[in-house]
């Protein structure tokens, strides 16, 4: 089932945080690397949430959305939010090489976010490899995929399955525990990042690969976003400086699990922030409700990126 048939995924709170972190980071990189002339490529679906942010936050005009499903293609054409968005019908593995063959797109940086619906597999890895080796200099690539454990086989098969997909970067001693429900998103995030770095280093791409985004998050299923910069030789120091800055948030160590909260809860907690100390569970209870520790941590860290949802009953 295509994602547009299941849920408006702009409404998932952790997804909103992930998107907020990504675009906050892209903005900093775009400013440092002067990427306003980039081409934004993604899977806009029928909602185009990331395209709106690319246009507003990054000031990118020209955007391309790839849509494989024929009904989805018609709906995307109908729903596209700016006239500068082109919706192309087909699979990204075919469409990306076609785009590269168009002279006008060859000489400009690409910001590509392949926000896949499903689990990581050999096809996606092959597409990642192609993009890493062919994207124009100064491009930024991002990949999102599901890290739900059952998509990677039964517990005993999972370490082997991960090695089948990602190849020699996977340590021989990868354990079942590394691949259980709790750890699999982090494991996949780290190993996929290793894969991306290795492809670029092993093929001696000038400028290399700068690890920039590693975001495991959870909204009912575990998801992972990884990505980085493919700088031109001359731009690499500026891009590295952005990532090395202590303010850089793109590398997330703890899985983002933003809790679904009511407007009243959000407003109450937000009134306590920002503060230097950690918000405690006791304080939340004093305020009149309750959340788990990791939910409180996620809220405090990412409240700026959390959406406010309200159902309008008419």
């Amino acid at each position: 089932m295509a994602s547009f048939d299941s849920i408006n995924y702009s409404l998932r709170p952790s997804k909103s945080v992930q998107r907020g972190i990504v675009f906050h980071g892209l903005k900093a990189l775009s400013d440092a690397m002067a990427l306003q002339n980039s081409l934004y490529i993604g899977f806009g679906s029928i909602w185009f949430t990331d395209f709106v942010m690319a246009h507003k936050a990054l000031e990118i005009d020209e955007m391309i959305s790839i849509e494989a499903n024929d009904v989805g293609f018609r709906r995307a054409e109908f729903n596209k939010v700016y006239r500068s968005i082109s919706v192309v019908e087909g699979r990204s593995e075919d469409k990306l090489p076609e785009l590269l063959n168009q002279g006008e797109y060859q000489a400009r940086p690409w910001i590509v976010w392949l926000d896949y619906d499903g689990a990581l597999d050999e096809e996606k890895v092959e597409e990642m490899r192609w993009l890493l080796l062919n994207a124009p200099p100064n491009s930024i690539v991002l990949f999102t995929f599901s890290a739900t454990q059952n998509a990677y086989g039964k517990p005993a098969q999972r370490p082997g399955r991960v090695a089948d997909i990602l190849g020699p970067v996977v340590p021989d001693e990868l354990s079942r525990e590394d691949c259980n429900q709790e750890n699999l998103p982090q494991t996949l995030a780290s190993l996929t990042m290793d894969f991306l770095s290795s492809v670029v280093a092993d093929n001696a791409r000038p400028g290399g690969f700068i690890r920039s985004f590693k975001i495991p998050y959870f909204d009912s299923v575990g998801m992972v976003t990884v990505g980085g910069v493919l700088p031109a030789l001359g731009t690499a120091p500026a891009a590295r400086a952005v990532i090395a800055d202590h303010k850089w948030q793109g590398i997330v160590d703890e899985m983002i699990q933003a809790p679904p909260m009511t407007l009243k809860e959000v407003a109450t907690l937000q009134a306590e922030l920002p503060c230097l100390e950690d918000l405690t569970r006791a304080r939340v209870q004093e305020l009149g409700f309750d959340l788990l520790e990791h939910q409180i941590r996620s809220f405090q860290r990412y409240y700026k990126y959390l959406p406010n949802f309200a159902e309008i009953v008419s």
Binding site: P168, V170, D172, D194, F195, S197, D202, G208
Partner: protein, 455 residues
Amino acid sequence: MIPGDKSKASANPTKAFFVRMITRDITLEDCIFDLIDNSIDGAWELAGGRPMSLADDTDLSAYKISIEIKPDRFSIHDNCGGISLDDAANYAFTFGRKDDAETENFSIGVYGIGMKRAVFKIGSKIGIKSTFTDNGGLMSFRVPVDVNAWLAAGDDNWDFDIEGADNLAAPGVQIDVTDLNEAAAQSFESPRFIQDLRRAIARDYALHLHRGLTIEVEGKSINGWAIELRQGGEFSPMRASFEENIEGEKVYVEVLAGMEAIPPEDSDPDGDWDEDQNRSGWYVVCNGRIVLAADKTTLTGWGTENWPIWHPQYTGFMGLIIFSSRRADLLPLTTTKRSVDATSQLYRRYRPNMREPSKAWIAYTNARRQRERGEVVGQEQEAKSVPIYEVAAQPAVVLPQVATKKRVPEANVLYSVPKPRLLKLATAMGNIRMPYKEVGLQSFEYAYADLVGED
């Protein structure tokens, strides 16, 4: 008449040749192995320096080699005794081994080129520090090498300066390389390179790691390969020892061969066949170091002298030929220590000893194909894996006599399906990693039971 000043053709080497050319024919991984070899030679000498036969139980657990690999820096550090000042001044930095150099006991290093070639390959700012025992006390020195400055100083003076230094924590050597060459820097940024390096160390130094040596890469100790052959039922590996006398020096040779894994059901490799993952083939070991692993080429006889070329049908066979000698130069290893010198007389003399177990295995797998599917597997499963160190002496490999028997004619079914669909079916059958062939067979049985019913 030849003018006096033209009567000699200059044949002096240039530094640039050594820096640029000798580093071309070796991989970065093999350069790091050269540095590990030097450390191991120190440890082996301290531990007694004797032939490294499988029966030898020298304890190397006191010795540790630590390797750090960063995008801008490489270092290797050991506690294996260090280089003495005399050796540093007279031998260790010479390009090539001097004739009067003392031969280390059963060392792996032989050509006197490894360390220099390795550090030149990695980078251009090099610091080599050694702490060694001298008259009961500790003494230390360092040799800083700035390759660009050394090259710029011309070809008349090839020496490196030796300076005083603080002691390391224990007698040993520490080598730091910065200002990395571009190719090294790129490789060091690749997690794949580091994982593959770990795998190669686990395999090629398996015999040293088995004796307790610690090798760490990025702070993580490496577990050596468990090299095992199957024994039991009608299977018994061969293990034979020989002794040669070459130039007045003893050379010890040991040959082991047999079944390391149950062979594949038939000879047709599946679509998911991965030859690189396959441990089968011949291994050549020189003074403890595996210099050729899982070889299936003419180097170890396959496809030569009426010996068939390797075929996946032969999977499951493993052979090891282990050479050791006080003088490593008598052993059939190449300068990169990543292959055998196929022209070596010693090696050629022992090829027939490798040929016999290979032939026996080929004959066994040929006969095995004539039997009903699965009939021989039970016999093979009776044979259990045994570490090579525990294999008993036996002059020839023992394999079951498989009587050929007429079998029901078989039909091979061959078809292709999109891989994602196959993976979904394998998942539904309970194992996402089920071999393609097994998915096909189970699908056939499922359809047969549904559409045909019982035979």
